[in-house]
């Protein structure tokens, strides 16, 4: 297996290369992928309206 031993020269090369690197642009998220902060807050404050039903099998019962 080839070993990569860092030398002062190779580190300097890497540092130079890094300086030239372009920043990674964050693309805009698709519009259906999430909620904004206001939308999240609104959803949290009205969670009680959720019609989620707990499956009957998951209701705790006594072990007999």
């Amino acid at each position: 297996m080839k070993r990569h031993l860092a030398t002062r020269e190779s580190i300097a090369e890497l540092q130079e290369a890094r300086k030239k690197r372009e920043p990674v642009r964050v693309s805009k998220a698709p519009e259906n992928s999430g909620l904004t902060k206001d939308e999240t807050k609104k959803a949290l404050m009205s969670m009680a309206k959720s019609a989620y039903r707990i499956p009957l099998k998951l209701i705790p019962k006594l072990p007999f």
Partner: protein, 204 residues
């Protein structure tokens, strides 16, 4: 986030969360003590995480993450204690305590999973996610009910786990390392199956 903003969210959300937990306990036919002080702590830490996620992800964050972080903090701070199925009180006098072996020791893990699904369903009921996915609201909600129940009540096939997938997840949440990212994976799979279900049986 300023301290005032944090307290404002806590004061607004903690009563809502407290009522939700009490409501879930009722649906689970379980009697328990719920700590309001702990629901306040959950509100604060949960919102701090969301603020951080909004700082990283800018304008939007995926609903599955919001649901997971809520469940994570409930599971971590454990607001529910002394939980017993109502059956355990049958035939007892008012001052009698139920048999200790009937205590539901993993009630916080159970509640946290149900809370995350409560929020996820609500986001599909009342948000533009359903609209943006171009799926009929009733159709996606029917798919949510079918997929989530099937998943949670299905049996883990490896023969080494706790039985139902729900029980297996509750066990792992209680006794293994469990972060919000684990729950995000689960919810993303649920969402994927919901979309598949809708694609399989499009509304006529």
């Amino acid at each position: 986030m300023t301290q005032d903003a944090e307290q404002e969210f806590r004061d607004e959300y903690a009563p809502e969360l407290y009522d939700l937990v009490v409501d879930l306990l009722q649906k689970l036919n379980t009697s328990a003590h719920v700590s309001y002080a702990i629901t306040e702590e959950i509100a604060i830490h949960f919102w701090r995480d969301l603020e951080r996620l909004y700082a990283i992800h800018h304008e939007q964050i995926n609903v599955t993450k919001t649901c997971s972080y809520l469940a994570f903090w409930v599971r971590k701070l454990k607001p529910v204690s002394d939980a017993y199925p109502l059956q355990a009180y049958e035939g007892l006098d008012a001052d009698e305590q139920p048999n200790r072996e009937y205590e539901v020791t993993d009630i916080n893990e159970q509640i946290s999973l149900h809370l995350s699904l409560t929020l996820l369903r609500h986001c599909l009921e009342d948000s533009r996610i359903t609209e943006a996915a171009n799926i009929d609201r009733e159709e996606i909600l029917a798919a949510f009910d079918k997929v989530s129940e099937e998943y949670l009540t299905s049996v883990v096939e490896d023969g080494m786990s706790m039985g139902l997938r729900f029980d297996s997840m509750v066990y792992d949440m209680r006794f293994r390392t469990y972060g919000p990212h684990h729950l995000t994976h689960f919810l993303v799979h649920i969402m994927r199956d919901i979309y598949r279900e809708c694609a399989r049986s499009p509304k006529q």
